[in-house]
């Protein structure tokens, strides 16, 4: 595995990498590694094709800060909910329509903690992890603007 950024510890595993990953295999490995869990929640983000208009998504990030920032977000999730583990994988580089961008997995004794922690991780990854997306479309290229709803979503935590 040529992951170019890894962070571990009790807050969970964080991987930032250009390579594609198999989310089913990652989810199975994550679930198998848990002790005492009764619930595993996973979320996988994929590149929308927008009816064939999207040709490619280029994801830029801030090496070093990306891993540190996701690590802080993961530590916060681990402190707020009773989790047996969590995992974040986020890709960067050029991705085509339908490709997997990222995944989050959380595990807990009961599902409420796992669901809440996964939602929290997603909300913070959207607006507080240093990634930027540039889309190349048939209709032109441009940076994806941050959405006000994504910023507002943080206030619920």
């Amino acid at each position: 595995m040529a992951a170019d950024g890894q962070a571990g510890g009790t807050a969970g595993r964080v991987r930032v990498q250009p390579e594609a990953f198999d989310f089913a295999a990652e989810a199975a490995a994550f679930a198998a590694a848990q002790t005492g869990a009764g619930a595993v929640v996973t979320f996988t983000g994929i590149v929308r094709d927008d009816g064939g208009d999207l040709l490619e998504m280029q994801i830029e990030h801030y090496p070093g800060m990306t891993e540190a920032q996701i690590g802080r977000i993961a530590a916060e999730a681990a402190a707020r909910w009773r989790l047996t583990g969590l995992s974040v994988i986020h890709r960067h580089g050029a991705l085509g329509p339908g490709e997997t961008i990222m995944m989050v997995a959380t595990a807990a004794r009961h599902r409420a903690d796992a669901f809440a922690a996964a939602e929290f991780l997603m909300d913070y990854l959207k607006s507080r992890a240093p990634f930027w997306k540039k889309e190349r479309r048939r209709s032109g290229a441009g940076w994806v603007a941050a959405r006000a709803e994504d910023e507002a979503a943080l206030s619920r935590w």
Binding site: Y62, S127, F131, W132, W143
Partner: protein, 83 residues
């Protein structure tokens, strides 16, 4: 003080470089921006609307009033779009 200044996404495109080293005595991020604006038309375009910018000092998110004493790296970028 020597600072490594880094730019990402459209800020990088407008400045025309991903990073540069600057010699500065600016005590805060906001005052550093005033100096950077004067470096080129590209810099001026990148920093035209600071409400559209986010800042990290030594790879941690910071505000425009953040002090730069002891800092080594400052980064400017648009609001993040992960996930």
């Amino acid at each position: 003080m020597r600072l490594d200044v880094r730019y990402f996404a459209w800020v990088r495109e407008r400045v025309g470089a991903p990073r540069e080293t600057v010699e500065t005595g600016a005590p805060t991020v906001a005052l550093l921006i005033d100096e950077l604006r004067a470096r080129s038309e590209g810099h001026a375009a990148a920093f035209a609307d600071t409400t559209a910018l986010r800042v990290a000092v030594d790879q941690a998110l910071a505000g425009f009033d953040a002090p730069l004493a002891g800092a080594r790296e400052v980064a400017f970028f648009p609001p993040m779009t992960g996930g």
